[in-house]
Subunit: 201 residues, 2 copies
Amino acid sequence: MNFPSKIVENAVNHLSSLPGIGKKTALRLVLHLLKRNKQQVVKFGEAFIELIEKINYCEKCYTISDTNTCEVCNDSKRDHLTICVVEDIRVMMAIENTSQYKGLYHVLGGLISPLDGIGPNDLKISELTQRIETENIQEVIFALSTTMEGDTTNYYLFKVLEKLNVKISSIARGIAIGDEIEYADEITLGAAISSRTPYSE
Amino acid sequence: MNFPSKIVENAVNHLSSLPGIGKKTALRLVLHLLKRNKQQVVKFGEAFIELIEKINYCEKCYTISDTNTCEVCNDSKRDHLTICVVEDIRVMMAIENTSQYKGLYHVLGGLISPLDGIGPNDLKISELTQRIETENIQEVIFALSTTMEGDTTNYYLFKVLEKLNVKISSIARGIAIGDEIEYADEITLGAAISSRTPYSE
């Protein structure tokens, strides 16, 4: 595409760098932005700068949080002896929406994916074992997507955690294989948490 | 959706304000951005601030241009007696890609759309009549999408321009009714420009 303006081209290139957004869609979105008033677009841009400059992660469970420890970790009414291991904040938000789980979380920050160059050391796995040992955790629930990467991570985590004195379970595979957890309906997801099964190879 | 972080929620709300992007997609894109390094995301945000602060329109044809008058208007080899009327820069870029047109453009900045509150006075129509009169324009080609809004605008423009001493044509309707011009393939679009037909009601 030959752009008549470097400024537009730059904005289009940034938008189309996002997954699922092509150049034509990006140009459509940029022209849409240009029809707004200046202050709105400035705020649009500033939202991303603020995002990356002020983003903060809970120092216990590594979820995104505006405070040092997140609301869930701070909540004394929750079960502080159970940890649910999730890929990212989206899965945590989906499980919270079911109101079926009252324990804590641990956000890995991704899944093991050799194709994308993501190994166990890129995830918060050593932090998880440390939490299990220091916080006297009784049970760890794996709530990872039933994809190749999720299964790989499940298996790796099981191998690491089976040496520790902790009960390990995985949310019930009532969710169709290949589906992503965040898109499951709340009833299926809630039932899958209630009927979790002991982890077996 | 209950977001654990106001900063993330703000970024998600801004992204999902764009047409075709829902909250879940926006959250996925925001988490994608958070995996990049800080400098990249700052540049991402700055691209939109620069876009709205430095955007400039050609003072002759109202296309987006980094200079006061655009490359097309400045090109002495082009036919300065013919104007092609387009909705926005996307259509202009699509026509330029066909290499079938050597005249000038006039960018309306939208189409007449009462449902969206866009009337003739919101478009660069009086600027078009002024150009036709002062620049001694011989022919005006309408290259507007074959949608309801495009047809309405075609008709309105014809009513305004028929009083002037200028030949009026419309690109051939080889393009399927209901399709948007920017997505037409170059051959169809090029042929449609070559076989333009005199405008008739």
